[in-house]
Structures are given as C-alpha cells and as structure tokens.
C-alpha cells in the first residue's frame, strides 16, 4: 500500500458468485461515508469493484471454495484505495488481447474480457499484480477529505476558503467533477 493509509474495512468472501453483490453493498456503503465523494464516483467504484470481484471468483474456479477473496478499503486525506486479492492461479496481463475496435464486426466475438477495460476507465489509478499464488487488483480514487471527517474541533470555516478548495480539487459546489 503506497503511503500511509487508514484501514476502513477488510472483508473476506467465499469465491462464489452470490457474494459479489454483498461486496458491492459493503464497499459502496464505505465509499458513501466519504462525503466528498460524489454519487457518480461511488457508482464508478462499485462497478469497478464488481468487475474485480468477478475476475477473482472466476480465477478461483468452481472447485476452489476453501480459499477466500479479500477486499480491503483504505483511505488517506486524498485517496480511497480498494484492493481485491484472490488466491487463484494468476494470469499474465500482457497476454490479454486487445479487443477489436467497435466498428469491427469481430468485436462481437468478445463476450468476455470487458472487465479490465471497464476498471481502467472508471478509477483514477489501477495496478494489477499476479503470480501463481494469486492476483491483487488495487484501485484508487482521488478525492479530497470530507469536511465532516475533520471533526468539529478542527473545523474553522472562517479559516477555510471553500471555493478555492473546490476549485483546486476540480469540483463544483456539489462536490461533482
């Protein structure tokens, strides 16, 4: 985990399809508690998480229900970091073939393999590390700290130029990008 972050939650799920919805619910609830994160960004993270969990469960295969998929949410003042770790056989990212362009009729031959492009599109940073003991997907959303998270003793509105802070973060008054 780069830098110093606080653990928000750690969750282990059996590698079974019905638990992906549970992971979505738990992680989206944690992300919503970060009040500076707009609803659209929470939805992006939820979809990216679903894709990572789906890949993790497929990596375990139907016969491997003993090992668990681990999901962690960490945060610091600037980032929300979600990690999905499986104990499957791993894969070579370089071997994943790029899909044909959407104008190419061959594109419709690809019913699978859309998950990683979706993850890459939705989060600010993503890293994959994989070996024969498993795969770890680390997804990062950049977000400013919530004012409420600073606590009432630390919060002095007279000292804070809110408009400048939002501008610096590239956000509007509603906290949206």
């Amino acid at each position: 985990m780069p830098g110093s972050t606080d653990v928000v939650l750690s969750l282990e799920i059996p590698p079974r399809a019905e638990f992906v919805a549970v992971a979505r619910l738990v992680v989206s609830t944690a992300a919503k508690s970060r009040r500076s994160l707009a609803d659209d960004r929470v939805a992006d993270l939820t979809l990216a998480l679903s894709e990572a969990c789906t890949n993790a469960i497929e990596a375990h295969g139907a016969k491997d229900e003993v090992e668990r998929v681990t999901i962690r949410v960490d945060e610091d003042d600037e980032r929300l970091v979600v990690t999905v770790e499986d104990r499957g056989p791993g894969f070579d990212l370089m071997e994943l073939s790029a899909h044909p362009a959407v104008t190419d009729p061959d594109r419709l031959n690809f019913e699978r393999g859309l998950g990683i492009p979706i993850i890459r599109n939705l989060v600010d940073e993503v890293t994959f590390s994989s070996d024969d003991s498993g795969t770890t997907v680390t997804m990062v959303l950049h977000c400013p700290p919530s004012l409420g998270e600073l606590g009432p003793d630390l919060l002095d509105l007279d000292e804070i130029d809110l408009e400048a802070a939002w501008d610096d973060a590239g956000l509007d008054e509603e906290g949206s990008r």
């Binding site: 992906v20 919805a21 659209d40 859309l114 979706i118």
Partner: protein
C-alpha cells in the same frame, strides 16, 4: 439476490423482455437462459428493457452480446431500452453503445 424477468409476447413480431434488479455474475445466467430459450422457440426480434435494472456489469454485457449474436445469426436482432445514465455509461465506456440499438422506450423499440 434475484433477477426479475418478464417476457411479453403480445407485441408480435417483437418479444419484450423486461429485466428488473442487478445483472452480475450471479444473476446473468438467468437472463442468458431466457434469451437462449426465446431464440430456440423462434423469436427473432427481441427487445430487452433495462429500465428496471439497478446495476449491470460486464457479465451482463456478455449475455446481451451473446443474445444479439444468436438472434442476428437467425436473421433477427436484439435491441435495448435504456435511459438510465449509469447503465448507459457501461455501454459507452466499452463502445458497445455503437454495437447495440438503444431506444428510450419500449414503444419506440417495437415501432422500429
């Protein structure tokens, strides 16, 4: 979590499949079974109404792609009804909004 699927065959030659709930790795097989069954029964023009869908990921996309390929192979087609920005976004970021015909209403889909 269950996936709601209602099949309306009253608007021939179209068959309207209304989907409700979350479409993911756990629930997408039910939608796949419905589309395969319709194709095997001779349905050619299938409209999948996604207005009741709260969540759809790449597993759901894969099922829709498979259904569309199967029906186009039978000289038919699978079109979609969707106006929800969060669901449309999944099609847009994968470029599949250009592969599917996406209507705003079921009426528009069966008029086409």
């Amino acid at each position: 979590m269950d996936l709601g699927i209602e099949v309306d065959e009253a608007r021939q030659p179209f068959v309207v499949v209304a989907v409700r709930g979350e479409v993911d790795i756990a629930t997408a097989p039910k939608l796949r079974e419905t589309l395969v069954e319709l194709a095997s029964q001779g349905a050619q023009k299938v409209v999948v109404d996604l207005e009741g869908v709260d969540f759809l990921d790449s597993t759901g996309l894969g099922v829709l792609i498979g259904g569309m390929k199967r029906l186009r192979g039978l000289d038919g087609d699978l079109t979609l009804v969707c106006t929800q920005p969060r669901i449309l976004k999944v099609f847009e970021i994968t470029g599949l909004n250009r592969a599917f015909t996406i209507h705003e209403t079921v009426d528009a889909a069966v008029a086409g």
